[in-house]
Symmetry: C2
C-alpha cells in the first residue's frame, strides 16, 4: 500500500479509486441524472507537465526542499470541488516553484527569512485539506514556495494536571490523537477533514470540530500559540484566561497564514470520555426540528452533539424515511454519567414535536464503547467520516456539487433559509437544469445555528468549473445578502475573498492590513488572502 499522498484525490495513493469503482460510480450518476456518463481514466503523475521552477532552493536550505513534480503538483491545490476537478484533469498552470519540508522551527525560520529577503511568496501548508483555495499559490510573477509542516508532527509535552499539551503544528489529526491516547487524553477536535488536516491548519482557519455547542471552534482550546513571522518569533503566555489587552491568540486564530507560520501551541486537552448518551429524534417538519435545536441549545445543557439534518439529508445520510428531519443529540463525559442530561434534552425536544421511543435513548456507563454509533446516529457518523473519499469516485465526470456553510441568528434564520434555498435552487435550475439542495446544522449556538448546505446537479463535462462558479456565486451572494457569514468554519482563502470583503468591517480590514505589515513588511506570506 502506498503511503504517499495522492496528487489529486483525497487521501493516499492507495485510497485512489480503481477503474472499476469509478465505472460503477459513473453508472450510478448515469442512472441518477438520466445521461450517459463514461468514467474518464484517473490521472497518473507522469501525465503532469509543470512550468519549470522560476527559482531554486538556496543551497543552505536545499536539504529540506524539493522540486519534484509530484510534490509541486500535490501542493498546487487544496481539496475543494474546484481543486479536485482541476487536478483530475492534470491542469496545474500555477504550481509552487518548490516545496519546503522544514524539520524543525529553526528551518521554518530559515525558509521564511529567505523568502522575505528574496521576495519569494511563502504559502504555509498543513494537511492540504483547504476547500477555499487556502493553500493555492497566488497568480503573478513572484516565485512561490509551499512550506509544508508535516515534519513537525509531535506532541512535545503533556501537563496532566492542567489538562494541556504542547503540540507541534504540523501533526495530522490521527497522529495527534495517537500520541495523546496512551496518556488517557484527547484533543477531541474532529473536523470532517480530521484525517488530512493539522493542528496548525485548524488554528489559522478557526476550524470547527466535534462539539456542536459551547466550545465549537478550535479557538476555545488554544491556551497559547508560538508562531514564526518574518520579523521573528511571536509567542503568547500559557494562560487559562486573561484580560490583559486584546488577546494575542485571537489575532492568530483565523489569520490564514498571513501573519506567520504557527509552529506549536499549548492546547487544552480532555480526559477521554467514558460516559455517553445519545438520541436520534424524528421531527415531522424541518421547522419543528430547528425549533427543537434552538430550545435545546438555549437551555444550555451543552450537548457534545446537536446536529439537525433536514429531510433530504436525513434520507441520504442516515437512511431516515423521506419527510422527517432528524435531530442527533449526544452527551459525553469522562467523569459524570450522562443519562440525566439526555433525558432533559429529549424532554425539551419532545415539546417541539420530536419523536423517539424509550429504546431510542442510548446510555452508556463506559462499558459499551459503541453507544452513539448505532442506528440512525451510527449511519450518519460513518457517512460523515467517509464523505471526502466519495468525491474521488466521481471527480471529472461532470457532476457539479459543493457545500457551503454559514451562521445566522435565529430571528433571521427561517427567512434566510427560504431565500438561500430559493436562490440556489434557481441557480441549479438555470445552470444544471435542476439538482438537489440539502441542509444540516453542524453547530448550534444560543443565538443562532450554523447551517451547512450541500448541492449537486449534473453539468457538462469540461464545463464544470464555469458552472460551479455560477452556483458558488449565487450561494455566496445569498448568504451575504441574508446577513450570514461567508464561512462558519471553512475559512476565507482565495475563493471567499469577494464576499469576505463585504462582511469585514472596512476599518478592521485597515487594522489587519497594518498589523500584517508590522510582522511581514515585505508581504511574502499568502498575499491576496484576507487583506
Amino acid at each position: 500500500m502506498s503511503t504517499r499522498r495522492s496528487f489529486w484525490a483525497w487521501g493516499l495513493e492507495s485510497d485512489e479509486p480503481t477503474p472499476q469503482q469509478r465505472q460503477e460510480a459513473a453508472e450510478r450518476l448515469s442512472k441518477r441524472y438520466g445521461v450517459a456518463i463514461e468514467a474518464p481514466p484517473t490521472p497518473t503523475i507522469d501525465q503532469v507537465q509543470l512550468r519549470a521552477p522560476r527559482i531554486q532552493p538556496p543551497p543552505a536550505l536545499a536539504a529540506f526542499c524539493t522540486m519534484e513534480t509530484h510534490d509541486r503538483a500535490a501542493h498546487s491545490y487544496g481539496k475543494s470541488y474546484r481543486d479536485v476537478v482541476r487536478a483530475v484533469r492534470c491542469e496545474f498552470p500555477n504550481p509552487p516553484d518548490f516545496v519546503a519540508y522544514p524539520r524543525d522551527e529553526a528551518e521554518v525560520t530559515a525558509i521564511l527569512e529567505w523568502c522575505s529577503e528574496a521576495n519569494v511568496v511563502a504559502v504555509p501548508y498543513g494537511g492540504g485539506s483547504s476547500v477555499v483555495g487556502g493553500v493555492e499559490p497566488p497568480g503573478g510573477d513572484r516565485p512561490v514556495v509551499s512550506i509544508d509542516l508535516k515534519e513537525l508532527d509531535r506532541v512535545l509535552e503533556i501537563d496532566e494536571t492542567s489538562r494541556a499539551a504542547r503540540i507541534q503544528a504540523g501533526v495530522l489529526g490521527p497522529a495527534l490523537e495517537d500520541q495523546l491516547r496512551p496518556h488517557g487524553f484527547t484533543l477531541r477536535h474532529f473536523p470532517q477533514s480530521f484525517e488530512w488536516s493539522t493542528l496548525g491548519g485548524w488554528i489559522v482557519t478557526r476550524s470547527g470540530g466535534h462539539y456542536a455547542t459551547n466550545h465549537t471552534h478550535i479557538d476555545d482550546f488554544v491556551e497559547s500559540v508560538r508562531m514564526v513571522t518574518p520579523k521573528g518569533l511571536w509567542e503568547s503566555r500559557r494562560l487559562p484566561g486573561s484580560g490583559a489587552g486584546p488577546s494575542p491568540d485571537r489575532l492568530v486564530l483565523g489569520s490564514e497564514g498571513i501573519l506567520g507560520i504557527v509552529t506549536e501551541a499549548w492546547m487544552r486537552i480532555q480526559a477521554r470520555p467514558r460516559f455517553r448518551a445519545s438520541a436520534g429524534m424524528m421531527f415531522p417538519t424541518w421547522e419543528a426540528g430547528f425549533e427543537a435545536a434552538r430550545r435545546v441549545v438555549q437551555a444550555k445543557l451543552w450537548p457534545a452533539n446537536c446536529r439537525l439534518l433536514d429531510p433530504g439529508e436525513a434520507g441520504a445520510a442516515a437512511g431516515v424515511e423521506g419527510s422527517h428531519a432528524l435531530l442527533i443529540i449526544a452527551f459525553e463525559s469522562a467523569e459524570v454519567p450522562q443519562e440525566a442530561f439526555i433525558r432533559e434534552a429529549v424532554k425539551i425536544a419532545r415539546e417541539s414535536g420530536g419523536e423517539i421511543d424509550a429504546s431510542g435513548i442510548k446510555v452508556s456507563d463506559g462499558s459499551d464503547e459503541e453507544v452513539g454509533r448505532q442506528g440512525a446516529v451510527g449511519a450518519w457518523r460513518n457517512s460523515f467520516i467517509r464523505a471526502p473519499y466519495q468525491r474521488n469516485l466521481t471527480a471529472g465526470m461532470g457532476a457539479v456539487g459543493d457545500t457551503f456553510e454559514t451562521a445566522i441568528t435565529w430571528d433571521r434564520w427561517p427567512e434566510f433559509d427560504r431565500t438561500v434555498r430559493a436562490k440556489v435552487t434557481d441557480a441549479l435550475q438555470r445552470v444544471c437544469g435542476g439538482g438537489t439542495l440539502t441542509c444540516r446544522f453542524t453547530h448550534v449556538y444560543p443565538d443562532g445555528p450554523a447551517p451547512y448546505y450541500s448541492f449537486q446537479g449534473m453539468g457538462k463535462p469540461g464545463a464544470e468549473l464555469e458552472m460551479w462558479a455560477e452556483l458558488k456565486q449565487a450561494a455566496s451572494d445569498a448568504v451575504i445578502a441574508g446577513g450570514g457569514t461567508i464561512t462558519h468554519h471553512h475559512a476565507v482563502g482565495r475563493d471567499h475573498m469577494p464576499w469576505y470583503r463585504q462582511q469585514q468591517p472596512p476599518l478592521f480590514a485597515a487594522a489587519l492590513r497594518a498589523a500584517k505589515a508590522a510582522v511581514d513588511p515585505n508581504g511574502v506570506l499568502n498575499p491576496g488572502i484576507l487583506v
Copy 2:
C-alpha cells in the same frame, strides 16, 4: 438624597460616609493595628482647586460639554486605592480640561473628530470604576477631554428568539438589568463594580462577571460591536459564530479605548434563572479546596459559581471558622432543574475532602427566590456587593490595601501561590511592619484558576501612596515572574503598563500599534495605554 456621583467616593454623594461612620471606622482601624487614628474630615468640592482648562469646548459642541470643577475632578480618576487616596486629599493636579457628555452617536463622532483634528487627547469614560488608571488623563502638555458615555443608556432592541439585545454602551449595570427584566431576560454580567460600570467599559476591559466557569468574561456574550473611531465607524455583523478571518470583535475586546469609543453592542442575553442549587463546602486545607475546584471544573459541569475562599478570606467574608477553606458551588437555569448537577459537583468535591451535610445543599425549583442567599453563601454574597463602599469609610486614614488578580495554569499554581504569598508578605513586613494577605478564586478554568488576592497593612498617613507603590510592585513582579497574567479581568490601564509590556508578545505589540495607527492616526485616544 443627592443623585450626583461623589467626586471622591464609591457611589453617589448620598453614599459618602458621615463623620460619625468615619470616626467609628477609625476606631476599628486603631484597635486592629494598635495605633491611634483620627478620621480626617471628608472633602467637599469647594476645597478643590483645579488647573485652569488649557482648552475650551468648541462652540458647536459646547451644549454637551462642561468645565465645572465637580465634573473635572470626578473624571480625573477611577476608583483604585491610589485614586481614592488622592481624591480624598483633594489632589487633582492633572484633571481633564473639560468633560463631554455626548447624547447620541453623532455627538460621540463629533467630539472624537474634533479631538483628532485639534490634537486633543480623548479619554473614553464609562462608569469610572477603573482600578488600574484606565480613565486617568495622561501627563504632558496635550489638552485632554474626558468623554463620558452616560447619556447612551438605553436597551434599543430585544430579539427574544435569538436571545440577544442591542444595547447602548454607556448604560450602567443596574439600568441595563432594569430594562431587560420586564422582558424576562438578563445579561447576568455582575462584576463587583456592577453598580458603577457600563457595558462599554466591560467590553473594552474584558470584564469578568457572574459566571465562574465556562463563559467568564464579557467576551463570550458579545455578538457584535459598533465603535466610533477617528477614521469612522467600525461595526461587525451580528453572528452567532464565524470563522471568517480573525474576529473583529476580539480586537475591540480589551482595547481599552485606544481604537475607538464603543457606542453600542448586540449582546447575548438569557432567560432569567428559575431553578437554582447551591452548596458551601468546607475543606480542612486550602490545598484540598483548590484540588476540589480543579476537579469540579475539569468535570465540565459548568457551575455558575465555583468560588473558593482561602481560610483567611472565608473567616473575614463569610464568617467561617478560621482554618477551613470554603468552596461555594452554585448552579442555575431558566429551563432545567439543577439538583442533579449540584449532587454531581458535591460528590466530586467530597472526594477531595469537602465537607457538607445534606441540609447544606440548597435546591430551588423557582418558588423560593432566596436559595443561594442563605448561610455562608449568603454572607459572602452581601459582603462581595458592599465591598467597594467599605473603602469610603477608611480612605485617607493610613491603611494601605489593595487587590490584585491573575490567572495561572494548575501545574504551576501551588508554587505560584507560595511564591506570591512569600513575596507580598515580605513586602508587607518591610513596608508596613506586617499585615494580612488572603486569596480567593473568582473564576476557574479546566486548565487553571483565576486567583484574586487582597492585602492590607497599616501605613503612615501621608506616605500611603509610596508604600502602596512598593507593595504593588512586589505583587506585580511576583505575578509576572511566576508566569501569570498581570490581570485576569481588571484590565491594564496606566497602572499595569510596566508588567503588561513584559507579558505581551513584542510582535503583537507592534501589530497592535500598527492597528491603532490605522484607525487613530493622530494618536488621540488614550495615549500611553496598551501601546
